[in-house]
Amino acid sequence: MSATQKTSRTPRRYGMVIDLDRCTGCGACVIACAAENNVAPGAARENDRNSISLLRVFTLNNPTAAGRRTAFLPMMCMQCEHETPCVTVCPQQAVELDVLSGIVEQMPQRCLGCRYCMTACPYHARSFNWGDPSWPAGMEATLNPAVAPRMRGVVEKCDFCQSRLHAAQDAAAVNGSLDPGIYTPACVEACPTQAITFGDWNDPEGALAKSGETFAWLEGLGTQPKVRYRSGQNWLHEMAERGGAAPAKEERHG
């Protein structure tokens, strides 16, 4: 895209608000994400620490509340806006913050596999391809032709379904516009309870602006994540406000 085009429309700041009180932990978003982005099925050697997971759902328990409370927390790349930790550390510009969309983009074709970005990410939202991805015979037919599978030795992460953004850009171009508008990432589409709202933080009339009071995890780090959460449960707000150094009392399931 040329410099002229870059300045010819108002930049968007795509983001999400996830309603934790609506999330049932069904995992449909995880499956939809993996299918959309051609994530290879886990091999026998893989576990929750070395497999590819662009979107995880954590189970949070609050044993101190009157009556045990449980919440499910979908977590992907938070698309940090300020001093994006992974962008500044990548030695060969394989990660960049797109000024037109606000999405932190990952370029596997340029990635060296040094994993410095994974070390830098406070949300542990990045996965490394420790081995060659492979699909059982016949399963290749299910691959999404709009998304290139990643090779061994590179890092990947959620990019708000870039292929869908590109499709929206193409559709807009047909109509003579450069603005892709609000498209729908796979996880948003799959969520049966509509717990995930996708939109543009720059749009004062948009869905995100109307989400009411939201909070982010690790807000104290100052990275201004564009994926935010909402909940009416105070214990979740309190948990989000503190860092992870203290021994956590809650259970966690990847």
């Binding site: 500044t88 550390v89 990635c111 070390t119 990410c121 391809n129 590179v154 860092g243 150094a245 956590a248």
Partner: protein, 417 residues
């Protein structure tokens, strides 16, 4: 390697041994090299597995993205800091005693750096894309600075060592080599200056790698300009520990060869330099730790003492690093000349252990600690392939050092005992 009477077994070997010194028989030398060659072979096999199948042969994972290799790379690069710092002391501060160890220092530096770069080439997922960093450099990344400086410095070290190699008896018979060596020799102070500049930046950038990690409050530090405090602490610690490591290696070489390789005054000089630098480093490290505990970490929403609530990383690790492995060897090394020189290896070892512990804490403890409040504290044990690859690098260092000791004059003051 061990000292023996001169036994001319092969003419070829004798032709290359420098005049005026004796070396053990080729058979005995081969015997010394055999276990190291086996270790090198094992390391090469493990490296081949990692390159063939990917890094699934390691025990690193998405949370423990760095492991044994990065920790040991950081440590040996700090130890190799003796090369640039000795050059500065000799050529710019005119500490002439260091002439006795400068060749060894440059060789150790080269081996440390080349070994570290080799391990890094296996550690990255796509080693054939290493050149991308030069083609698409991110000026904001500390790793870009590290890559540029280490690559250039490795070249400088190779050129710096070339005159010593060309001074071999057989090479000196070729007139053009002699002229080249003479011309190159005149450039050595310039190269030492360039090397010091490059080394300063990459030692610092290695520290900066961690200090800039805003998302890892355990590692994140305050900045001066674009550089976090760890940048300066890594430079100082490398300057402090470099001479100590040189002292250890020279002493070990004396034990193995059973020869007096340098005068005692050289040890005293190395120890004193190391002691003063270590004192300066540990003082600044203490101040930095206090600022981090009381200000930096709290601002990010993390109570620093909670980092130490996970065993085995208790508060003891902080006191051991700064006290036992910091102030104790610093004071001991500064007293060199007043204490028995043969004991100086003990504080030198403590100093090296302190800097290695610092690199360990910044690599392993940083990654063990969770940032998210519901996430787990994780542990990691390296796989045999990770250990073997590093063992192979150590073996490579020993083999090259041994061969070059045998065929070049690494120590101009070498005497038969």
């Amino acid at each position: 390697m061990a000292d023996m009477a001169w036994v001319p077994t092969t003419m070829l070997d004798r032709k290359f041994v420098p005049r005026g010194v004796t070396r053990c028989t080729p058979a005995r030398f081969s015997l010394w090299l055999t276990p190291w060659c086996l270790l090198l072979g094992l390391g090469l096999w493990a490296a081949y597995l990692c390159l063939r199948d990917g890094l699934l042969h390691t025990n690193m994972d998405n949370r423990f993205a760095f492991g044994l290799w990065i920790f040991l790379d950081l440590a040996i690069i700090a130890f190799g800091g003796g090369a640039f710092f000795s050059g500065v002391l000799l050529y710019f501060f005119k500490l002439k005693e260091l002439n006795a160890v400068i060749r060894s220092a440059v060789l150790i530096g080269f081996l440390c750096y080349s070994g570290a770069v080799t391990v890094l080439a296996i550690d990255v997922g796509q080693p054939l894309r290493a050149w991308f960093t030069f083609w698409h450099p991110n000026a904001h990344s500390m790793l870009t600075e590290v890559t540029f400086c280490i690559t250039l410095y490795l070249c400088v070290l190779a050129v710096e060592y070339l005159p010593v190699l060309l001074r071999n008896r057989q090479f000196r018979k070729i007139p053009s080599f002699l002229v080249f060596e003479w011309e190159l020799h005149k450039l050595i102070p310039v190269l030492a200056g360039i090397g010091a500049f490059l080394s300063f930046f990459h030692q610092g950038s290695l520290g900066g790698l961690y200090g800039v990690l805003r998302g890892r409050p355990f590692a994140f530090r305050e900045s001066f300009g674009i550089w976090p405090t760890t940048f300066f602490l890594f430079v100082l610690s490398a300057m402090a520990v470099g001479p100590s490591f040189l002292l250890i290696m020279t002493r070990v070489a004396e034990w193995v060869t059973r020869k007096r390789l340098v005068l005692e005054s050289v040890y005293v000089r190395l120890a004193r330099v190391s002691g003063w630098m270590l004192t300066f480093y540990v003082l600044l490290k203490s101040i930095d730790t206090m600022v981090w505990l009381n200000s930096t970490s709290r601002r990010g929403g993390f109570l620093p003492w909670e980092y130490y609530s996970w065993e085995p990383f208790g508060v003891w690790i902080l006191f051991v690093e700064i006290g036992l492995f910091g102030f104790v060897p610093a004071l001991w090394l500064m007293r060199a000349g007043k204490v028995n020189t043969s004991w100086l290896i003990a504080p030198a070892l403590l100093a090296c252990a302190g800097v290695a512990l610092n690199r360990y804490v910044l690599t392993v403890q940083t990654l063990s600690l969770a940032t998210l409040p519901f996430d787990e504290f994780l542990s990691y044990t390296p796989s045999w392939q990770e250990v073997a690859v590093f063992g192979g690098v150590v073996a490579y260092g020993v083999i090259v050092y041994s061969v070059l000791y045998r065929y070049t004059r690494l120590f101009p003051q070498e005497q038969e005992r």
